[in-house]
C-alpha cells in the first residue's frame, strides 16, 4: 500500500479506457503541503505525470495524508473539497472530471516512483 504522495501519484499512470472520460483533457497540479508538486496532464483517459511546479488548468492544494487517502479511494474527492481538506484554484470542471477519473480507474497497482513518465496509448 502506498504511503507517500509520490507513491500514490505513481499509481495513477495506468490508462483508463472509458468513454465517460473522453472529455477529460487538461492539466491538474497537486500542491502537497511540505512535500512537493506534481502535474497530471490528461488526454482521453491517458495521463502524463511530471514532478514539480508549473502551469496547470486546475491546482489542488492539500496535505499528503488527504491526497493519499483520496487516491486510495478512502476519501471522496468532492466531499474532501467540501470539508476544506482540499483547496482548488482554476477549472472546477476539470476537478470534477479528476474525481470521476479516480473512481473509474482500476484498483491501485504496485506503486511506482512518480517521475516524468508518459503512458503510451494501447
Amino acid at each position: 500500500m502506498h504511503e507517500t504522495a509520490a507513491e500514490a501519484i505513481g499509481t495513477l499512470t495506468a490508462r483508463v479506457v472509458d468513454p465517460r472520460l473522453r472529455r477529460l483533457k487538461g492539466t491538474c497540479r497537486f500542491d502537497v503541503e511540505d512535500t512537493g508538486s506534481w502535474r497530471l496532464s490528461f488526454d482521453e483517459g491517458g495521463v502524463r505525470i511530471a514532478e514539480g511546479p508549473g502551469e496547470a488548468d486546475c491546482a489542488v492544494s492539500c496535505r499528503e495524508e488527504d491526497l493519499v487517502r483520496a487516491i486510495r479511494g478512502e476519501q471522496n474527492l468532492i466531499t474532501a473539497f467540501m470539508q476544506g481538506r482540499l483547496r482548488i484554484r482554476g477549472d472546477y470542471g476539470l476537478f470534477r472530471q479528476l474525481h470521476q477519473f479516480l473512481r473509474l480507474r482500476p484498483p491501485p497497482a504496485t506503486p511506482l516512483a512518480a517521475t516524468e513518465r508518459p503512458v503510451e496509448p494501447p
Binding site: 471522496n76 467540501m82 476544506g84 481538506r85 477549472d91 472546477y92 470542471g93 476537478f95 470534477r96
Partner: protein, 688 residues
C-alpha cells in the same frame, strides 16, 4: 398571503420578515443562505430600542427589496416624526442601504441598532432542527464584525461592516444619530459570505451602494431575458401577470454550479431547494421549452456531466443513472447526508432521455444529441440493468442507504405517499405507474434518435419492440378492472397499490395507456373526487390516505396539473385540458400570479380561494413552469418537422390568446387562438 419576503441570486438568498428583519427560531427558514448554509440567522433593526412598524414592502427585482418603516405612535392622530428605508440587494451576501428621514422641524437624536448573529446551520439542520457539531466564534477586526464557525478544516465566516461610523460589538452595530430638521442620515451595511469553502476569501458583496442597474448572475440582464422570451397577448389580463411572473421567477431560479462551469440551469425552489435537482430541473426545462429553450440544453449538459459512474450504495448511485440532488452544506461535506451528489430517484433517468428528444424536436439541435449519445445509451442501459431490479420488466426503487436514503424515489417523494386505498402502506421496492410511462416514452423517443442521429437502426428496433411489450404488459398488470383506473404502483409483493391518484394523468403524457383506458382515466381526473375545482388533487377524496393538506395525499400541485393537461391533449381531450388550464390559472390570481408548489385540495365550493399549503416552496421551479406548459396545452403547440403546429382549445373566459415569437427550428413563429371552449359543459364522452 405570506409573512416573509425572499430575494435571491443563484443559491444565495435572503428570507426575511416584512420588516426586513431576520428573526427566526432555530428551525425557521429565515436567514441569509449561501451554498446551503445559513450565514445570518439574526438581523434585527431597532430605533431607540423599538422595532419600527411596516409601512410597505416591495420586492423590486428578484434580487432586491425595500422596506419602509415608521415608529409606532399608537394612534393615527400623531404623525410619525421619522421614517426608515431599508433597501437590500443579494449577491455573495447582501448589501443594505439604510436611510433615516427626519420629518420634523426639530433636530432628532436617535439610537439605531442592528443585532446580528449566525448559526451556520446546514439547510438539512434547519429542516430537521439538528444541533451543530463544530464551534462558533465572533471577533471584531479591521472595522468589521466577524461571525465564524469551524469544524476541523470546514470553516465559514460572515463579515459585517458599515460605511457610516458606528460602534461595533460582538452582537451587532450601534449608531448614535443626530439628524437636522427635515434632514437624513444614511449608511450602507455589508453582510459578506466571506468564507464559503470555494474561492479565496470574499471581501465584498456583489452589489454596492446605489447599484440600481445591477446585473443578475445569469449572463444577461432581466430586461434582456424578458425581451428574448415570446410576447404574450391576451384579453384575459390575469394571464399577463402569471406569464411575466413565471418568466421572472424562472430567471431568478437559474444558477451556476461551479463543477459545471459556465452553464446555468433551474434550481428547484426557494427556500429549501436552491440546488441542482434532477427531476425538477428536467421537468421545468420541458415545461419551458417553447419559451426559454436554452434551459433544456444546459440542464442536459450539467446532468450528463454528473451521470452515475459506479455503484455507490451510500449515494444510491449506479452507472448511467441521472442524479437526484446536489448539496454543499456541512452535513453533505462530512457524509452525514449522501448529497454529493445523491442519486435517489428512479424517474430522472427516463426524464433525461425524454427531454433530450423533446429539445431536438423543438430546436433541431442534433449536435447535442450526437454529443450525448454515450450518456443516452448509458441511461438506457441503467433502465434495464439497474432500474428493473428484479427483472419483472418494470423500473422499481428501494434505497440501498437505509439510514439517510430516500424512501420514495418518485416525484411524490414524501415517506407516506404510496398508500393502498384502505390507507395502509405499500411495501418496497415500489414500481410507480408514472415511471413506467416515462420509460415507455423514453424508449420510443430514443428509437427516433437512434435512427436519425446515432446511425443505429438495430437499437431503434429493439427499443420499439421493448416499448410495445412494456405497453402491453403495463395495461395488463397495472389496470384495476373493477375500479377502472391504473394502480398507483406495484409494491414489493407485486400487489396493485389501488389508490386513485393524479399519477394516472402522467400516463396520458407518456402515451402508454390504451385508448379505452385513457378515457376511463380522464373521467376519473375530471370527476369530483380528483378534481377540486382548482385542479386535480394528488389523491382522490375518499381514499384511505386522503388528506386535503397532506403533502402528496390530496393537495393540488400546479406542475402535476400542467403535465396532466398536456397529456389530455395527446389523447384528444381538449375541453378537459382547457378546464384544468383555466382552473390553475385562476388559482394563480390568488397568489399574485406566482403559483406555489402546492395548495390545499379543499373543494372549490367550500373555499372561495385556493388555500396555500403550509410549508410550500415559492417560487418553485416546476410550479413556475406550469403556466408555460398550460399555455402550450391551450394552444396545442407541437413541433412537426420544421413547422410549429398550432391547434388551439382555449376556454371562453380567455377569449383571445396569442404568443408571438416562439423560438424553435422554424426560427420564430406566432401562435393565435380564440376562446371557443365551454369548460363548464362536460363533453358527452365524459358522462358515464
Amino acid at each position: 398571503m405570506t409573512d416573509t419576503l425572499s430575494i435571491l441570486e443563484g443559491n444565495t438568498f435572503v428570507v426575511s420578515n416584512r420588516h426586513g428583519d431576520i428573526d427566526c427560531s432555530p428551525d425557521e427558514p429565515q436567514g441569509l443562505f449561501h451554498q446551503d448554509t445559513r450565514f445570518l440567522s439574526r438581523w434585527r433593526l431597532t430605533v431607540n430600542g423599538e422595532r419600527p412598524s411596516v409601512l410597505s414592502t416591495d420586492d423590486l427585482q428578484y434580487f432586491s427589496a425595500q422596506f419602509f418603516l415608521v415608529p409606532s405612535t399608537g394612534t393615527i392622530y400623531v404623525n410619525p416624526s421619522f421614517s426608515v428605508i431599508r433597501k437590500r440587494a443579494v449577491g455573495g451576501g447582501f448589501h443594505e442601504d439604510v436611510t433615516v428621514l427626519n420629518h420634523s422641524a426639530e433636530p432628532v437624536e436617535l439610537e439605531l441598532r442592528v443585532e446580528a448573529s449566525a448559526d451556520f446551520a446546514d439547510l438539512f439542520e434547519v429542516k430537521d432542527a439538528l444541533a451543530k457539531k463544530g464551534h462558533a466564534y465572533r471577533r471584531i477586526e479591521d472595522g468589521r464584525l466577524v461571525l465564524g464557525y469551524r469544524r476541523d478544516e470546514f470553516a465559514r465566516e460572515t463579515w459585517i461592516s458599515s460605511s457610516a461610523p458606528g460602534e461595533i460589538d460582538e452582537d451587532g452595530l450601534r449608531f448614535r444619530l443626530r439628524i437636522e430638521p427635515h434632514g437624513q442620515w444614511n449608511t450602507c451595511l455589508e453582510v459578506v459570505a466571506a468564507l464559503d469553502g470555494w474561492d479565496e476569501t470574499r471581501d465584498r458583496v456583489k452589489y454596492g451602494h446605489g447599484d440600481d442597474k445591477a446585473k443578475p448572475n445569469v449572463g444577461m440582464s432581466l430586461d434582456g431575458w424578458l425581451a428574448k422570451a415570446p410576447r404574450l397577448e391576451t384579453s384575459w389580463r390575469p394571464l399577463h401577470r402569471s406569464y411575466t411572473r413565471s418568466l421572472v421567477d424562472l430567471a431568478a431560479l437559474r444558477f451556476y454550479s461551479k463543477l459545471t462551469p459556465g452553464q446555468a440551469l433551474p434550481a428547484a425552489g426557494l427556500p429549501w431547494f436552491m440546488a441542482v435537482f434532477g427531476r425538477d430541473s428536467l421537468l421545468t426545462s420541458f415545461q419551458s421549452l417553447p419559451f426559454a429553450p436554452d434551459l433544456a440544453e444546459t440542464t442536459l449538459r450539467v446532468l450528463s456531466a454528473q451521470q452515475g459512474t459506479i455503484r455507490d450504495d451510500f449515494r444510491d448511485e449506479e452507472p448511467g443513472k441521472i442524479l437526484h440532488e446536489m448539496r454543499w452544506g456541512e452535513m453533505t461535506a462530512f457524509e452525514e447526508r449522501p448529497h454529493s451528489p445523491y442519486f435517489g430517484s428512479a424517474d430522472t433517468t427516463p426524464l433525461f432521455l425524454i427531454l433530450l428528444d423533446e429539445l431536438e424536436r423543438w430546436t433541431g439541435n442534433g449536435e447535442l444529441v450526437r454529443q450525448l449519445e454515450h450518456e443516452a445509451r448509458a441511461a438506457l442501459s441503467w433502465i434495464d440493468e439497474y432500474g428493473d431490479r428484479d427483472g419483472d420488466g418494470y423500473v422499481e426503487y428501494q434505497t440501498r442507504n437505509a439510514k439517510t436514503g430516500l424512501e420514495n424515489q418518485c416525484w411524490k417523494d414524501s415517506w407516506n405517499s404510496i398508500l393502498f386505498a384502505d390507507g395502509s402502506m405499500s411495501r418496497l421496492p415500489r414500481a410507480t405507474c408514472e415511471i413506467q410511462g416515462y420509460v415507455y416514452d423514453a424508449k420510443l423517443r430514443c428509437a427516433r434518435l437512434a435512427r436519425l442521429f446515432w446511425n443505429d437502426s438495430a437499437l431503434a428496433e429493439r427499443l420499439e419492440t421493448e416499448a410495445a411489450e412494456l405497453k402491453l404488459r403495463f395495461n395488463r398488470d397495472f389496470w384495476i378492472e373493477d375500479r377502472q383506473f391504473f394502480a398507483l404502483a406495484l409494491d414489493g409483493d407485486k400487489r396493485k397499490v389501488d389508490s386513485l391518484t393524479s399519477n394516472i394523468g402522467h400516463l396520458l403524457w407518456s402515451g402508454i395507456a390504451d385508448e379505452d383506458k385513457a378515457l376511463a382515466c380522464v373521467r376519473h381526473l375530471m370527476a369530483e373526487r380528483l378534481f377540486s375545482g382548482w385542479g386535480v388533487r394528488t389523491m382522490a377524496e375518499g381514499e384511505g390516505g386522503y388528506n386535503p393538506i397532506g403533502y402528496h395525499l390530496g393537495t393540488v400541485w400546479p406542475h402535476d396539473n400542467s403535465i396532466i393537461a398536456w397529456g389530455m391533449r395527446r389523447y384528444g381531450y381538449r375541453r378537459e385540458a382547457a378546464r384544468i388550464a383555466l382552473a390553475i390559472l385562476e388559482a394563480a390570481q390568488f397568489f399574485d400570479g406566482r403559483l406555489p408548489e402546492a395548495f390545499a385540495g379543499y373543494p372549490r365550493a367550500l373555499t372561495s380561494y385556493p388555500v396555500e399549503y403550509p410549508t410550500a416552496c415559492s417560487p418553485q421551479a416546476w410550479a413556475t413552469g406550469a403556466p408555460l406548459l398550460l399555455l402550450r396545452a391551450m394552444l396545442g403547440l407541437q413541433p412537426i418537422g420544421d413547422q410549429l403546429l398550432v391547434d388551439p382549445a382555449i376556454p371562453r373566459q380567455i377569449d383571445r390568446l396569442e404568443i408571438l415569437g416562439i423560438p424553435g427550428r422554424w426560427n420564430r413563429a406566432d401562435a393565435f387562438g380564440r376562446g371557443m371552449v365551454d369548460v363548464a359543459e362536460p363533453a358527452r364522452e365524459m358522462l358515464h
